[in-house]
Amino acid sequence: MRALLEVSGLTKRYGGLRANADIAFDVKEGEIVGIIGPNGAGKSTLFDLITGFQPPDAGRVLLAGRDITGLRPDRISRLGVARTFQKLKPFPDLTVAENVVVGALARTSDMRTAREQALESLAFVDLLEKRNHFARELSTGQRKRLELARGLAMRPRLILMDEVTGGVDQPSIAGLIALVLELKERGLTIVMIEHNMQVIMRLADRILALHAGRRIAFATPAEVRGEPAVVDAYLGSIDNAA
């Protein structure tokens, strides 16, 4: 299988701090790649560099072989890359349905088609009954699903999800896992930042582990679990906390 996303040498500095240092990984078509790492490891920065929200200082991002490094976020999005934000960004003064319509309008200019696709997306994330509420009225978990629906309505080939299970109550997590697996089934390629170890071990085909802006592992979940550097940096601290 060819790589849909190839990242090499990606580097971002903020003053003296290296938020991302020489990051390299690839995502094959139809694969789920998880990104783990303690807070401040550079996960969200990596998303921003890939999706064009920040320009990298060095390195390259290839989408299906095409160099997209440093393109504007809307250009990258139109090439079929959707993302969600760790700090959620729904359009608060639009209704839930209208939020998702904006996503669907990336692919169609017909309002009726956009509305239908939006309702499909909302049904998929099980948010249909909230469609006429304003986005600002939703709970955190619902807003996460809304962002997902909005991104999916764009019919992307690649989606980058930033902590979809963060701040979501335990019973809802099973639903989110099923949802991600269903997306994979449909052929979507997924990169997900995830703090919940059980979730990521279960979902990811491969895991990229970051620590202090550096890649410390990129391998299957089983291999990453055995990697001493990962255990030290991340898993160890989780075990201690639990």
Partner: protein
């Protein structure tokens, strides 16, 4: 079940009835109130309703606070008047030229300033507004500080857009212009462009992540806004037949249209009209009540009103109603 659902919520019956009554009232208004001052008052209300709506497109929909709408008011007035006075071109064509020039001016102002976030756009439009005023006050070809007169033509009033015996034709002209502008904005708000503007107003990053070219869309909103304002300028020139750069390009006009839209409800369709219907009579009457000193009294009243709105309902008088209507959609 989802397929059968209406694309847009239907407003409640009493809102539709109120709207129909308002439209009927506006159509027969000159027949009920037959004096010239009452025509003048409503002409000003409709003119300001159009101007406040123009501000609402760039600020209410795309979230960019413009403090320079008077630029386009002036461009509209000067375009039609210069073309008519110097070349005998009908103001109908002049208003189209004005719209085009205003849209171009919006691109020239918007491209460098609208990619910046924060208040740069507001500050830039305010400063450019006073610069443009100074240019017109010094520009001899267009009459410099003394301005221009629209040459009087008594024949073919509709061709020359001058009506010397009655204000009623002006009334229906401005009513039509305002009606068209509200219809355009009504369609715009439900269009792809309209949704994209509201999206980038609320969350520019999320909008960009959904493929929306944020800066380009803001410029488009500004162009539409400028063209609308320009129509008001041409109308005003034909109505008063005198072009005074001091008045046309004044910051007061820019601020006034902002106040009206904010008072009525910025971002709503009818808010600017409601704001104009409240503030124009307030301004006119306070000036006549207080005589010459009323000039500042009306500004004090505006300030008080805005203060009250900010305390009571920061999103304007109409926002409450609009939310109710939208939420009603598809309720089981």
């Amino acid at each position: 079940m989802a397929r059968a659902e209406r694309l847009w919520p239907r407003p409640p019956l009493w809102v539709s009835a109120l709207g129909a009554a308002a439209i009927a009232f506006l159509i027969v208004y000159p027949l009920i109130f037959t004096t010239s001052p009452s025509h003048h008052l409503m002409i000003l209300i409709l003119l300001y309703a159009l101007m406040a709506q123009s501000w609402n497109v760039v600020a209410g929909l795309s979230g960019q606070i413009s403090l320079g709408q008077a630029i386009f008011f002036g461009i509209g007035a000067y375009s039609s008047t210069v073309l008519f006075a110097k070349y005998g071109v009908t103001p109908w064509v002049g208003s189209l030229v004005g719209m085009l020039l205003s849209a171009l001016a919006a691109v020239a102002i918007g491209v460098p300033t609208l990619r910046l976030r924060g208040h740069y756009f507001a500050i830039a439009t305010l400063l450019i507004g006073s610069s443009v005023q100074i240019v017109f006050q010094r520009w001899d070809w267009v009459g410099a500080a003394s301005g221009l007169y629209v040459p009087i033509e008594r024949a073919s009033p509709f061709y020359y857009l001058q009506f010397h015996t009655s204000k009623v034709p002006y009334y229906y002209l401005v009513l039509s212009a305002a009606a068209i502008s509200y219809w355009v904005v009504w369609k715009l708000r439900r269009s792809r462009l309209g949704f994209r503007l509201q999206a980038l107003r609320d969350e520019p990053d999320a909008a960009a992540s959904l493929g929306i070219a944020v800066a380009r869309h803001k410029v488009m909103a500004f162009m539409i806004s400028a063209a609308m304002m320009s129509v008001a300028g041409t109308f005003y020139a034909q109505y008063v037949l005198v072009l005074d750069p001091e008045r046309l390009f004044s910051a007061e006009i820019s601020i006034l249209v902002l106040l009206m839209a904010v008072l009525g409800g910025s971002g709503t369709l009818w808010g600017p009209a409601v704001g104009a219907a409240i503030l124009v009579p307030l301004s006119e009457y306070s000036r006549s009540w207080f005589g010459g000193t009323g000039r500042t009294i009306d500004l004090i009243l505006y300030g008080t009103l805005i203060l009250l709105v900010c305390m009571w309902r920061p999103s304007g008088i109409l926002s409450l109603l609009e939310e109710r209507i939208r939420r009603r959609a598809g309720k089981p």
